[in-house]
C-alpha cells in the first residue's frame, strides 16, 4: 500500500474543510428559513471618503496608517506630491455603499461632504459617478467622474487656518 503523499494529504484536508463549510452553511440556511427576508438595496460599489487637513506645521496627529484603507496606506506621501504641505491630519472618514437606485452621502464631516449618484459601471472598470461637493448649504462643485480602484480622487477644498481642507475619495470595492 502507498503511504499518503503530502499532496494527497492536503487534497483530503481541503475536501474535508469544503464539506464541513457547506454542511454548516446548509444548517444555517435551514435555521434562517423562517426569518423575514430583508431586501438590501442594490449597490454599484463601495467608496471611502475622508476629510484631511493639510498644513505646513501639524497641530494634530498625522494620518495613521491604521486609519487608511488597503491600497492607500501611503496617502500622506501621495497628498504631499500635490499639495505643498508637510502634515496631513485625518479629520474624519466614512465608508459608504454606492447605491444603484438612489443617492448616497459620504459625510466625514458635517462641514464638507459629498453627494454621490451612481451612473453605472464604467467601461474598463470602475463606476461612473455624479458628485456634488457640499459646504454646509452650498454646493461648491458638481462633477461627472469615473472612479477606479487604486486611483483616488483628491478635491482641493477651501483654505482653513494656515492650511487647506482636502477631500479624498477612493473606490474600495467595485461591484462584480
Amino acid at each position: 500500500m502507498l503511504a499518503p503523499r503530502p499532496a494527497t494529504l492536503w487534497f483530503c484536508i481541503s475536501l474535508a474543510l469544503c464539506w464541513s463549510d457547506s454542511a454548516s452553511h446548509a444548517q444555517q440556511s435551514k435555521s434562517f428559513q423562517t426569518a423575514p427576508i430583508i431586501e438590501k438595496p442594490a449597490t454599484d460599489g463601495k467608496v471611502w471618503g475622508a476629510l484631511i487637513y493639510g498644513s505646513p506645521a501639524g497641530t494634530g496627529a498625522d494620518v495613521a496608517k491604521g486609519d487608511l484603507p488597503k491600497g492607500l496606506q501611503d496617502l500622506p506621501a501621495r497628498l504631499g506630491k500635490v499639495f505643498s504641505f508637510q502634515h496631513f491630519e485625518l479629520l474624519g472618514q466614512h465608508t459608504q455603499d454606492v447605491f444603484r437606485e438612489y443617492e448616497s452621502w459620504v459625510v466625514p464631516s458635517k462641514d464638507l461632504f459629498l453627494k454621490v449618484d451612481s451612473k453605472g459601471k464604467a467601461d474598463g472598470g470602475g463606476i461612473n459617478l455624479h458628485l456634488q461637493f457640499w459646504q454646509d448649504q452650498q454646493v461648491l462643485v458638481k462633477t461627472d467622474a469615473i472612479l477606479r480602484e487604486r486611483s483616488p480622487l483628491f478635491i482641493g477644498g477651501p483654505k482653513w487656518r494656515d492650511g487647506q481642507l482636502i477631500f479624498v475619495l477612493l473606490l474600495t470595492k467595485p461591484e462584480s
Binding site: 500500500m1 502507498l2 503511504a3 503523499r5 503530502p6 438595496p41 476629510l51 491600497g71 501621495r78 497628498l79 506630491k81 500635490v82 485625518l90 479629520l91 474624519g92 472618514q93 466614512h94 465608508t95 459608504q96 447605491f99 438612489y102 448616497s104 452621502w105 459625510v107 466625514p108 464631516s109 458635517k110 462641514d111 464638507l112 461632504f113 453627494k115 474598463g124 472598470g125 457640499w134 459646504q135 448649504q137 452650498q138 454646493v139 461648491l140 462643485v141 458638481k142 462633477t143 461627472d144 467622474a145 469615473i146 477606479r148 487604486r150 486611483s151 483616488p152 480622487l153 483628491f154 478635491i155 482641493g156 477644498g157 477651501p158 483654505k159 482653513w160 487656518r161 481642507l165 473606490l171
Partner: protein, 216 residues
C-alpha cells in the same frame, strides 16, 4: 512487505538518475501499482508539456560579460570545493533540502506573492486611473480644474477661488461606520463604529441637505 516508492524515487526515476538495480525494482513497483503508474504518466506528460513550451535556446545578450561571469563562478566553485574537502563531513549535503518535494511548491508560492506585490506597487496606466469628465462650480468666483498627478497616482480636482473657512471655526470630523437611508422620509442616518447615531441628514424644502447632529 515492500516499501512503496517515495517522491524522491519518483523524481529520480523520471530524471533517469537511477542505477540498473534501482530502476528494475522501481519498474516492478510500477507494474504492481496502477495509482503509481498513473502518477508517473501524469508527471511525464507535465514534463513534456513544459519542455515543449520552453524555448530551446536563444542568443545570450552580452556574451563576453556572461562568459567572464561563468569563469568567475567556476573559480569560486573550485575554491568552495577545496574548502569543503578540508571541512568536516557533517556539513556535506546541506543543500539537499533544495531537492525536497515541498521546495517547488514553496518557491512557487513565494514567486506568486512577489508578483502580486510588484503588481500592486506598479504605476497605473491612464486607462486604470480615475477621471474627471466634467465639472461645474455654481459660484462664478470659483474655478474648478482637473488633472492627473502621475507622482501621486491620483486624479485631482482643484477648486481655486473658494472663500477661506474662518480660522476660528471648528471643523468637526466623524468616523462613520455605516449609514441607513429611509427612502420614505428621505433621511440618512450615520452611525459610528459602536452603533451610535452621529448625524442625521435630511432635505429641506429646496432639496438642500441639512445635517443634524445627534444629541443623546
Amino acid at each position: 512487505m515492500k516499501t512503496p516508492p517515495d517522491e524522491n524515487q519518483i523524481v529520480r526515476f523520471l530524471d533517469g538518475e537511477m542505477d540498473a538495480a534501482e530502476k528494475s525494482a522501481f519498474e516492478a513497483s510500477l507494474a504492481a501499482d496502477p495509482e503509481l503508474r498513473a502518477e508517473i504518466e501524469s508527471l511525464s506528460q507535465l514534463g513534456a508539456t513544459l519542455r515543449k513550451s520552453m524555448p530551446n535556446g536563444r542568443e545570450v545578450p552580452h556574451a563576453d560579460f556572461f562568459n567572464s561571469q561563468i569563469q568567475v563562478r567556476i573559480a569560486q566553485e573550485e575554491m568552495d570545493r577545496a574548502r569543503e574537502s578540508n571541512a568536516p563531513a557533517a556539513g556535506a549535503g546541506w543543500l539537499d533540502w533544495l531537492r525536497a518535494p515541498w521546495f517547488a511548491a514553496a518557491a512557487t508560492a513565494v514567486v506568486a506573492l512577489l508578483a502580486v506585490t510588484l503588481w500592486q506597487g506598479r504605476s497605473l496606466s491612464p486607462s486604470e486611473s480615475s477621471l474627471v469628465l466634467s465639472s461645474y462650480a455654481p459660484n462664478p468666483d470659483v474655478q474648478a480644474r482637473a488633472f492627473h498627478s502621475d507622482e501621486a497616482q491620483a486624479t485631482v480636482l482643484m477648486l481655486d477661488g473658494l472663500a477661506a473657512v474662518p480660522a476660528d471655526r471648528k471643523i468637526v470630523g466623524h468616523s462613520v461606520h455605516h449609514s441607513e437611508t429611509d427612502q420614505q422620509v428621505a433621511t440618512t442616518t450615520l452611525f459610528s463604529d459602536d452603533g451610535h447615531v452621529l448625524l442625521v441628514l435630511a432635505k429641506d424644502g429646496r432639496n438642500q441637505p441639512r445635517l443634524l447632529e445627534h444629541t443623546p
